[in-house]
């Protein structure tokens, strides 16, 4: 295909750009390896190799144009999507956020109780050899021990010095901490464990007292069961990230861990009444909202297009003013509307002579407000596309119908409207898909509310699936990322199916 050589200038420009890209990538790889982040380094090496192959091989014509967008798309969009789908198969929520090993370690700490012997020690913190150490004097027997992470070692009389209170203050091979070192040492002292016999530990209870503790939880080797040695209760791994009392399934130990459980979040959305109730309510409202709002915006836009489909006076002025809502930055408009609807200080109640109507606090009024604001935001767009569609109608259709004796309303209802609808249907469907996920509108206007928190509601009256999922994942109360991810996967399936169907229907792909 390459009949003539690319111009030298273009070649030089290409070499120049590639030299910059390559050196940047090499520097980034260097930094990544320096920080021993081999995942990032490896990905960058792959990008470096791929980029040079794509841009210097003669066989990669299309890839030359698609490469930069694809790399960004894969790393920043596709990987997060896969991550989301993967997380949706985990029980990952507040209380179940760490790995099982970390949860077991935390449970061990939670389960430490003072030993039955009630042994307590006076404590001096310091170091022995290269590690931290505690010099311990038993308060009852006045025996002296050197405690290190290796264990508790009794010291023979004469190898340590006592102060006037019979507390050991120094010993051979032990360097006590002094002055300001002691201040910075509080952190390690509080978590320093000196293992004793029978699964017991000496733990500091402050800066100068320690106590002998034992673990009340005894884990089985495979970590599948644990026994509370104090109460005698046995707990079992329930396969879902928690130890649960075998005789009382409501008695659950926390923290739990994130556990792989592919269907749980999805099944829970349908079978667990605490989840399925809000989910179905939100689901129905989402569908209703998406269709109703598009129908309203289109109806208003289309009628406006009909009204302006004639050279009337001031048409240019009308047009400029009427597309203002479309031209305004939408996040500001939505926030301003939120202020207008405010019950106490809003301009709307004020305009109604100081009324006190809770536009955004009554469920149905809030839904109406959402629809009204979205109508304001969206009708100019539909006006523009309807105008385009009206102008694309062949003008002889109307003439032919008139000659056949059709009345004005027949022409409108039976010819113009169906034709315009047909032309616009791909755009209408993509609008429905967009509004299905209209996060900004809901979040900025009502935050999904009003929410009847007192009755334990987790979803608000105007929550769409997307805001509901967002709150579920990042909300202020209980966060459940696993569940939120499964909601977004479901949304993806619904919107994806709708979009694919419309894509097929509009035959866009066939004509390519």
């Amino acid at each position: 295909m390459n009949m003539i050589k690319p111009s030298t200038l273009a070649m030089i420009a290409k070499l120049f750009v590639m030299a910059i890209v390559d050196s940047l990538l090499v520097w980034m790889i260097y930094v990544a390896l320096l920080g021993s982040d081999f995942l990032v380094g490896g990905v960058l090496v792959a990008i470096l190799i791929a980029a040079n192959w794509v841009y210097f091989s003669k066989r990669t014509v299309a890839a030359k144009f698609l490469f930069p967008g694809t790399v960004l798309l894969v790393i920043l969009v596709v990987v997060p999507i896969i991550y989301t789908a993967w997380m949706s198969t985990f029980n990952y929520k507040t209380g179940n956020q760490v790995s099982k090993d970390a949860a077991v370690a935390q449970l061990k700490l939670v389960g430490l109780v003072p030993d039955a012997s009630g042994a307590t020690f006076d404590l001096k913190a310091g170091s022995s050899g290269s590690g931290h150490a505690l010099l311990l004097t038993d308060q009852a027997t006045h025996e002296v021990f050197l405690g290190t992470s290796a264990g508790l070692k009794p010291l023979a009389a004469g190898t340590y010095k006592l102060n006037s209170l019979n507390v050991a203050v120094s010993a051979d091979g032990f360097t006590p901490l002094k002055g300001k070192d002691l201040v910075t040492a509080t952190e390690w002292i509080s978590s320093f464990e000196v293992p004793s016999t029978n699964g017991r530990y000496v733990l500091a209870q402050g800066l100068d007292i320690a106590a002998l503790m034992h673990e009340k939880f005894v884990f089985s080797k495979d970590l599948l069961t644990l026994k509370d040695t104090l109460s005698g209760v046995t707990y079992k791994d329930n396969g879902n990230g928690n130890y649960v009392d075998v005789s009382n399934k409501d008695n659950i130990l926390f923290p739990g861990w994130q556990s792989f459980n592919p269907a749980q979040n999805y099944v829970g959305l349908i079978t667990n009444p605490k989840l399925s109730g809000p989910f179905f309510r939100v689901f129905v409202w989402t569908i209703a909202f998406a269709f109703i709002t598009v129908a309203m915006m289109w109806a208003l836009g289309f009628v406006l297009a009909l009204a302006m489909d004639k050279k009337i006076r001031l048409r240019g002025f009308y047009r400029a003013v009427l597309i203002l809502p479309y031209a305004m930055p939408s996040f500001m408009s939505i926030l301003i509307w939120a202020g207008i609807f405010n019950q106490n200080t809003g301009a709307l109640n004020n305009l109604l002579g100081g009324a006190h109507i809770g536009w955004l606090t009554d469920p149905w009024l809030a839904r109406g407000a959402i629809l009204l604001v979205n109508l304001w935001l969206g009708f100019p767009y539909f006006y523009l596309i309807s105008t385009g569609a009206l102008q694309a109608l062949p003008s002889d259709i109307e003439e032919a119908a008139e000659i056949d004796g059709a009345t004005g309303s027949q022409i409108f209802w039976q010819i113009k409207l169906p034709l315009v609808f047909q032309i616009l249907s791909p755009l209408l469907i993509s609008s429905v898909a967009f509004n299905f996920n209209n996060f900004n509108l809901i979040y900025l206007l009502t935050h999904g509310g009003p929410t009847d928190v007192l009755n334990g509601e987790t979803a608000g009256a105007t929550d769409l699936l997307i805001t509901y999922a967002y709150k579920t994942a990042f909300g202020s109360n209980e966060q459940n990322l696993g569940l939120a991810c499964s909601i977004s996967v479901l949304m993806f399936v619904i919107v994806g199916a709708l979009s694919m169907w419309s894509l097929r229907r509009s035959k866009v792909l066939e004509e390519m």
Binding site: M1, N2, I4, P6, A10, M28, V31, A32, G35, D37, V40, F65, L66, G69, T70, L72, I75, L76, P80, I81, T84, L300, A307, D309, K310, A320, L322, L324, P325, Y326, A327, P329, F331, M332, S333, I336, G339, T345, G346, A347, N349, N350, W376, F379, L384, L390, A392, S395, E402, P426, L427, L465, Y470, A473, F474, S488, F492, G496, L503, M512
Partner: protein, 291 residues
Amino acid sequence: MSSITIGRKKSRAGSNLWRHIFAWVLIAFSIFPIVVVVSSSLSKSGDLATGSLWPSKVSFANYALLFSSKSIPFPLWVMNTIILASANAVISVLIGIFAAFAFSRLRYRGRKQSLQALFLIQVFPSFLALAAIYVIFERLGVLYPLIGLGNLGGLLLAYLGGSMGGSAWLLKGFLDTIPIELDEAAKIDGASPSQIFWQIFLPLTSPILVVTTLLSFIGTFNEYILASLFLQDIPRRTVAVGLQAFVGGTFGANWGPFTAGSVLAAIPLVALFLSLQKYIVNGVTAGSVKG
């Protein structure tokens, strides 16, 4: 076109009256919030609830506050937004037109599948991917602070991830309307695909590129979820994140600075929009008219 009316001359004024009434009713609806925001920005109390729609005493205190207060670095926010939105608009439109050219003109294996995949990826509710984005950029930030969380560079990179899905489809629709004979003639003359792209397509598409760039600029301007995740430091915020903080909080709203900032930010955007109105209308209607 359809302005030619046939055989219906009766009561012209009457038949147009409803059009004017309809237009004026809609105009009242359209400009109501705009009047509220302008009047509130000019009122000293900074309420959205002035007794009348227009403040009895016009004051520019809210505007002055934006440029004098140390805790409200509005000019910095504007700078951040302009840098971010322009960089994103230019780079993403460039990436988009590259991809659109390949989709529209080049034939390669897996083309149809890749287009379908791109289409599907686009409809994924990306807000939920926030958690993953956060993890990725936290990790990158450790190595390269400039593109990590808390920096405009990181936010820009996060936006660019979507550039392929965003504008490529719109641009492809436009490229499809350019007659294929044009590149065939160039091919016969021995031009390579890159020459066809740089020397024929890029100049031809410049009007639609302007529109796409503007729409992308406005899109970035409006984006605040990702921006609020990335930009916690007050001086590094964008206009959207900075202004949102005045009224988005749980405890009361400070409408004065918000409305003044909104007016200042909206004026250039609206002016740009209205002056490019014709191109934008062509751009958004291109899809519908093609049918």
